[in-house]
Structures are given as C-alpha cells and as structure tokens.
Symmetry: C2
Subunit: 206 residues, 2 copies
C-alpha cells in the first residue's frame, strides 16, 4: 500500500486537503520518486485512514467551498515513523524506452531514425524535468531540509547524467549500424529468418 504512505508523508509536511495533496504530488512527486496518484485513490484512501485513526479532519468548511483539511494523529505519526524504519525495497522500474531498446534489434531493425526520435523525445522531457526541478529548488518558497537537499542534488545530477547518455546514444545511431557485439547462437540472424517465415506463411493463407 504505497499511496497510504505518500498521504501520511505529505500530511507530515503540513495539514492539507485531498486536492492539495494531489497538487503536491503533481508538483514534487515525479522527481521525488513518488510516482503519480489519482483522485480516485486519494479520496477513498483518506476516508479509510481517518476511519482507522491515522488522520483526522482538522477543519471543514461546509458552506460554500467544501474543503476538508486533514491532520495526522499520534497514531498517524507513529505509523509514518514505523514505515520510515522499514528497509526500503529495491524499486521495480518499468521504462518503456529501455524496454524498446532491448527489443529493438529483433522487433524493428533498420529503423534507426525512429529510435533516434524516441531518444530525442526522452532527452527533451528529461531537460524539462530538470528545469522544473531547478526552479523550485531556487524559488525561495519551498522548504528544503538537509536530507531533502541532498536528495535534490542527487536527482538533478542524475537527470544531467541521463541527458548526456541520451545524447551519446543519438550520436551512436547517427553512425552506420555495426554488427552485434556477440551472438554466440546466431540469435539475430535466426530472428530475421523467423520473421520472414512468419510473413511468408501468412501470405499463403490469403
């Protein structure tokens, strides 16, 4: 249950509403490794957490704009602390770009320019993310602790590292294709044969 701890964590920064939490996740979440959270999981989860006594409604304006501000209870602070104590599990990253890189040669060989487009897109997105990051780390408005600052330095450095690598890959693809580094069982040759065979078989059917 990951969303639960994001909610408790964001509320540890300051009391907030469901909508407000969503904004925080939107603004900080991607870079800080929280991923994304939708309203459809925030609101039911907040209700559940309140029911379980981890958070309580601090104020609710019933008239006009109906905003419920939640705050952590003692039980909630303890729950957050307990979670922070647990050793963090190694993350499962599912990155479509990396997936495509690993299947490119058998699934779509030759088309190097298309792959360059993918890499260029990723490079741009990474650049934007870095800008967004640099903005809120220097706008003087966000609270940045010692540890949070360390995390930020790491993440900014990593975005720069990634950008350099995307550029390096693009430069490599600009050059003519080279043969595989190693192919002991002739997998790549076989793959193109299997592909041809599959298409020739399907033509027989027509």
């Amino acid at each position: 249950m990951s969303v639960k701890h994001i909610l408790l964590g964001v509320l540890s920064w300051a009391p907030n509403s469901g909508y407000g939490i969503k904004s925080e996740v939107e603004y900080y979440g991607r870079e800080l490794g929280w991923g994304r959270v939708s309203f459809g999981s925030i609101y039911p989860q907040l209700k559940k957490l309140e029911h379980q006594g981890f958070i309580k409604t601090e104020s609710a304006e019933e008239d006009g704009r109906k905003t419920k501000i939640y705050e952590l209870t003692a039980k909630g602070w303890r729950e957050l602390s307990n979670w922070l104590e647990q050793p963090p599990v190694f993350p499962e990253v599912r990155d479509e770009l990396l997936m495509k890189l690993s299947f490119w040669d058998t699934g779509k060989p030759e088309d190097r320019e298309l792959l360059m487009d993918h890499l260029e897109l990723r490079r741009k997105e990474t650049k934007q993310m870095l800008h967004h990051f640099e903005q809120w780390s220097t706008n003087g408005y966000s609270a940045i602790s010692e540890i949070g600052g360390l995390e930020m330095d790491y993440l900014k450095d990593r975005l720069r590292f990634d950008m350099e690598w995307y550029e390096r890959m693009i430069r490599q693809l600009e050059r003519p294709p080279t043969s595989p580094r190693q192919d002991p069982r002739g997998l790549f040759k076989k793959a193109s044969q299997r592909k041809k065979h599959a298409f020739s078989e399907s033509k027989d059917m027509t």
Copy 2:
C-alpha cells in the same frame, strides 16, 4: 498493457515457453527496465495472445513434461513493431528509498543512523545488480546487439553513478546535522510542534 509487450518482445528473441519467459524476465528484466512479471499474469496473457492470433503454439510435448513453446505469428511481429513505433511514455518511478528521504525530516528526524542503514542496504543491492550485469555481459553466452550493448553500457554506468551517490550521502550523514537549506514558512519547526501536540492530545485521552 505492459506484460503483453514484454511477452511479444521476449518471444521475438526466440520461441519460448511461459516458464522460459519468466526465467528471462527474472534474469534480464530488472536491469533492462521491464520490472517483474508473475506466472499469474504470464499464463493467462499467453492464452489471450494466442486466442487473438499474435502468437501460436509451435510445439507441445503432451507426454511427460508438458511444455508449450510459443512463437510469434505475422500478426504478432506487426503488433510488436507497432508498439516499438509508439513514442515511449516517461516512466513513473516509485522508489521507496527516495520517498523516505523526502519525508525523513518531518517523519523521523534525528535518527540519522537508521537512514544510513537504508542507504548502505541500497548501495549493496546496487553493487550486486552491477555484478550480475557485468557477469552476463561478459560470459560470452548472451546475445548482445549494437543497441542492446549501448543500453547495457548506459545501465552499468548508471549503477556506478548511483553507488557513488549513495556513498556520498552516507558520508554526509556521518557528519553532524545541519540546519535546513531553506525554510521560508518555518515548516520544519511547525512539524515538530504539530507532532508534539498530537502526542500530548492522545495522552489526555488515557
């Protein structure tokens, strides 16, 4: 539907069984950005893909060991190719270590040694992953294409980059705590007050 394309991709390397695909994902998946896949999603998905005509059963040993080997059809190759064409979406990373770093100061301040343990654990896991990686990139058995090799170089370099940063963070935590980089609205002070307040209130209840 992410699992679908992992299955098609792995089958593009070579015909394989459900069990065999699971092994490939286990062995290569984490590093190559595929994440993990369980049998509970592989077998039903393979049936579905066969029903939809993307793959077909190439051979099935009915007697004794019942192994079904799947192979891509022309439709399957096309589907893989179409997917590879689509611009890859920027990944949503949910990393518990990063999450904990961003909530540490309000949720569990003071306890720097515990955080150092977390970082040390991650450093070790990263090191192991790098070793595993270096092994199969030099064992002479795995097929490595030009693009796959490029991806590997990137991922190995990134693991080394991460390890260095974890070490840097540990060294920082060995030093005495410093005050926040910036805290314009006094958030960190307020947080510790709110925490104290929550606990004093819960004591009144007893």
